[in-house]
Amino acid sequence: MDVKITTEREKEAAAYLEKHKIFDLMRNLTSMLFFYRPDDPKEFLIEKLEQLKQARDQGQKAPSLLSHSNLDAAFGIVDPANERYVTFAQYKQALISLGMKDINECPDGVNDDKITYDTFITEGMLSLEKCSATYKQP
């Protein structure tokens, strides 16, 4: 954000937004909104927020736009020869372009530079959950 922050309250507000991951939350919500394009956006947002709340309180899965099948497809793109493993660079690039942050830099198989399909999916799902859990971590 290249906004000039001048007063204390503005700094507080910026810190608050950072702490509660508001930007990530908004990004997730609006992505889902624009993908599904429901007729009643407010109802849809309410539903997703309820799910997020349950995810936070009861440890359920948070709502997210991407799923297992997207990860599967991403792997398929990176591995057109169907060798069932990819290099570390490809693994990282694939997850970045899907929008993941906090990618595990040391997954299984990084020493041989051969990330298998299963590792890819596991790591991908973990990152996905982290991205969707847009609330303050206790």
């Binding site: 954000m1 309250r9 503005e10 507080e12 507000a13 908004m26 990004r27 624009f34 694939a94 609330y135």
Partner: protein, 525 residues
């Protein structure tokens, strides 16, 4: 890259959250800054929300991500941008401990289009009269210093004690208590309020009109103006009533004498009876100091209305302003009009102002010819064999052009649409339906006169470069005019909410008329 659909919509953070936010802190007069800050959303150029970021690709390259037009249309239709902005601003201002619950509450309860207005102005300009009338008409809650002090809650108590203390000891009241009181914005009946500081339900439904007298003696002279304003309470519109100093002094004098009406009495009740001329002048002086700061702080939602007019005029202007809402959306403008009405000129001026893409049907074919994609192939085949390009292909070319990244992202303005009804209907049905249609009105005689004048580039008013590149002999013009006239009724049927603008005036006035219409949201679409 079908599998990567849906792409993560990379709402470019700096577009949505920072350049659309301008944090304007009220320039302090002398004292502490910490109390005031105001967040604003939607700068003028924030008509464009979805700016594709560059997405890193597999090949270590960077490819611009194209946002499908369905998403822009959806955003416009449901006013998603406004909704998201309200949510984020609410969070930033209130900073609740549990943002998810807060958002749920916000979405379930309040309507985002409730009027929230701040009325500012120097003493004696007529705020109370105006405010009362507006509240009666809009059904909003009127909040002034008196109603705040009447409030039954704890905060009201504190404010009352402060006010009393100030009168007795003359010390400055703690600005924060009045700030928090005004942010809680109670109703005059002092109902119960949620302790978390959520807005009072009645006020949420009906809206709020906050009246604030700058430079009035009631307000502590040591607190900067911003703290008296609803610091941290987002409001959608601000009105500044202004009038010349002598008018205000005159009125004030008049007010003091007239103790019969409730209005005047209220004004004079708060100040000491022996209000000398210096007192009035000093109030005005204070107002003048504060008003520049306030205007700067609120500039995105401010409208200044001249208070030195008959009250009915003031009221009409105010209502007109309150009814319009700034809408941020991708502009898709269609300019229709007979030849010579200045469509190209207006389109150029509008696209310069709003950074839209200026799409001219005359240049379409030339663009298509140069385009490497499938549409270019088709057009080239026709042109190579020197055959005229059929209508169907032109339609496709137009659609393709409008679907390109720059058009769907920045918006477009289309002028000189081939006056074919089929074209118009096709455009309307497609994803690229225009959301603003203008009909430039001009009589035939003026059309012919103007086109004749355009053909002579020695006319200093016309830039030689803007002489039309289409055929310009008089017969063609007359023919085109005839065609346009026959199709006008049909076109108006296809675009029933098109706006008619009189083109027979100075281009600047036409431009202003178009500009005004562009940002006004008068219908839901």
């Amino acid at each position: 890259m079908l599998i990567f659909l849906p792409p993560r919509l990379w709402l470019l953070e700096s577009q949505l959250f920072s350049s659309e936010w301008t944090t304007a802190s009220v320039p302090q007069s002398r004292k502490e800054r910490e109390e005031d800050f105001l967040f604003f959303l939607a700068k003028e150029s924030a008509a464009f929300l979805l700016v594709p970021l560059e997405v890193p690709t597999m090949e270590d390259g960077v490819r611009p991500l194209r946002v499908p037009p369905q998403m822009s249309i959806y955003a416009d239709q449901h006013n998603v941008i406004h909704l998201v902005q309200t949510m984020v601003s609410g969070l930033a201002v209130d900073q609740p401990e549990d943002p998810i619950a807060y958002l749920l509450l916000l979405l379930q309860e309040s309507s985002v289009h409730v009027p929230r207005v701040v009325l500012l102005g120097p003493p004696a300009v007529g705020k109370t009269t105006l405010a009362r009338k507006l509240c009666a008409d809009l059904g909003a809650v009127h909040v002034t210093m008196e109603t705040l002090l009447d409030d039954q809650s704890q905060l009201g108590e504190r404010a009352r004690r402060c006010a009393l203390g100030r009168q007795v000891s003359g010390h400055a009241c703690d600005a924060s208590s009045s700030t928090t009181t005004s942010t809680r914005a109670p109703t005059s009946s002092g109902g119960s309020r949620r302790s978390s500081g959520g807005p009072d339900p009645r006020e949420t439904q009906t809206g709020r009109l906050l009246q604030h007298g700058l430079g009035s003696r009631r307000t502590s002279s040591n607190s900067p103006a911003g703290s008296e304003s609803p610091a941290g309470r987002r409001h959608s519109q601000t009105l500044l009533l202004d009038a010349g100093e002598d008018v205000l002094l005159e009125r004030r004098r008049g007010r003091r004498l007239d103790t019969l009406t409730g209005d005047a009495y209220r004004e004079t009740s708060a100040r000491p009876r022996d209000d000398a001329a210096e007192g009035r002048a000093s109030d005005l002086q204070r107002h003048r100091c504060e008003v520049t700061g306030m205007s700067a702080a609120y500039r995105h939602v401010l409208k200044t209305v001249d208070g030195d007019q008959p009250p009915t005029d003031v009221y009409q202007q105010v209502v007109a302003f309150l009814r319009t809402r700034r809408c941020s959306r991708t502009p898709r403008v269609l300019l229709l009009g007979p030849p010579g009405s200045g469509k190209k000129h207006q389109a150029k001026m509008l696209s310069d102002k709003y950074k839209m893409v200026d799409v001219c049907c005359c240049d379409l074919l030339r663009w298509a010819e140069a385009d490497p994609s499938w549409i270019g192939e088709e057009v080239r085949t026709y042109l190579q064999h020197n055959r005229p390009v059929p209508n169907g292909v032109t339609l496709n070319v137009l659609q393709e052009r409008l679907n390109r990244a720059d058009c769907s992202q920045r918006g477009w303005i289309l002028h000189h649409l081939p006056c074919d009804l089929q074209h118009a209907k096709h455009l309307k049905r497609s994803l690229n339906a225009p959301n603003r249609v203008f009909f430039l009105e001009l009589t035939d005689a003026v059309c012919l006169h103007r086109t004749a004048a355009k053909r002579t580039p020695t006319d200093p008013g016309v830039d030689a470069a803007t002489v039309r590149e289409c055929d310009d002999n008089a017969r063609t013009v007359a023919h085109a005019l005839g065609v346009y006239r026959t199709h006008t009724a049909g076109l108006q049927g296809v675009f029933p909410d098109g706006v008619h603008v009189d083109a027979d005036q100075d281009p600047r006035y036409v431009f202003e008329a178009l500009d005004r219409q562009l940002t006004v949201q008068t219908h839901t679409h």
